[in-house]
Symmetry: C2
Subunit: 224 residues, 2 copies
């Protein structure tokens, strides 16, 4: 999302809140008018593949086919999908995200873990030591991973300018405040800020549904 | 849960927190030692049936078969299950809870609504005006409901003695504080306190997974 479209969205949200307040639905407080609003990106289960696993699943030298750009610069959803096979069940049509990575990483929800019969730990992306394993099935073959499956911990990708504006830095942990009937506060939300980030909070489908959030909803960062 | 087993559980939780604090994992604060801990009950999708719908789905005069008592006095899971059929998909093996009610009520998650192709509103149990519809399929027939499907709003059933102890009353709205890596605060949690309640917070599977909670985990009530 460009800075302009982000600003447009924030203005629209504030106007909507103002209307709601005028209608007596929700008071517009000083806290609601602060600039710490960030949009939400909801992650469904997905897979990042290494070159060797790409070869095994889709054939030697195969390449991912770009289907749709993600908000994080350079990241995209591929047309390719795989099946996840655990001791208790299978989940098909799991999207592969590009580009390829150094290590294969499989991000599922807690409910997916139950359905598969595995217990993936809650981890930040990239922290795969001692994570859960399963079998990944592609059209050209399958690979059995001893590790690589996690339930991703929520985090906020943040452009450096936005981090400065909000007074936070890469690695900080913040609270995120959500309004609505299932509103509340998420603790322990990591800030990930570097040159290639677009400002966006990543949560999984269960977190989104539990808080009544959908893609591009705005939530408020609160320093702790 | 009896008062004695609730006290046992609270003592065990406090001892565990004390050990965690001693190990430097989590500081034991005054707030952690307060008596406002309540156990969680996680609700999977389920159905409450009216007498006419029971007749249509399981045959005239059919009765529910008690499988397992719920914590709320008199409530039980039945061996009977139904299939939910929406415009986009079906969900099978959905548990019927007994006893029969005046009106059929179908409680699903947000994700279930997507899978079925309906958009049930978030409601407190019993508030069915303008709720979503779908077709319920049983072994003896099916019924198509124009309303009755909701995503249940979280709430705390509370014994009157516990409500007095915590200084809350039926109909109050409280915050609930959850610890752990996916910890946070749930706002707008309704207190439901009457003679037949056992003290227990009801949340659905997505809320449980989003907060890292499982059945009988303890959460802390905070007055607002």
């Amino acid at each position: 999302m460009s800075m302009h479209s982000l600003i447009d969205r924030i203005v629209a949200e504030l106007l909507a809140q103002g209307r709601a307040a005028a209608a007596g639905q929700s008071p517009l407080t000083a806290a609601d008018t602060d600039p710490a609003l960030v949009p939400v990106g909801v992650s469904n289960r997905h897979v990042h593949l290494s070159r060797p696993d790409m070869d095994a699943l889709f054939g030697p030298g195969s390449v991912l086919t770009r289907m749709k750009a993600m908000k994080q610069p350079g990241q995209y959803a591929a047309t390719e999908t795989v099946t996840l096979r655990g001791p208790k069940g299978e989940i098909g049509k799991v999207r592969v995200l590009g580009p390829l990575r150094k290590e294969t990483q499989i991000e599922v929800s807690v409910a997916d873990g139950f359905a598969l019969g595995i217990k993936p730990p809650m981890r930040m992306s990239g922290k795969l030591d001692g994570s859960a394993g399963l079998t990944v099935v592609g059209p050209a073959g399958s690979v059995t991973k001893d590790a690589g499956v996690i339930v991703a911990l929520r985090h906020i990708h943040m452009r450096p300018e936005d981090a400065v504006r909000l007074g936070v830095k890469n690695g900080d942990s913040v609270d995120v405040v959500v309004s609505g009937p299932r509103g509340g506060v998420m603790h322990n939300v990591a800030i990930r800020s570097d040159e290639v980030s677009a400002t966006e909070m990543h949560i999984d489908v269960e977190e989104a549904n539990a808080f009544g959030l959908t893609n591009d909803a705005l939530v408020r960062v609160r320093k702790v």
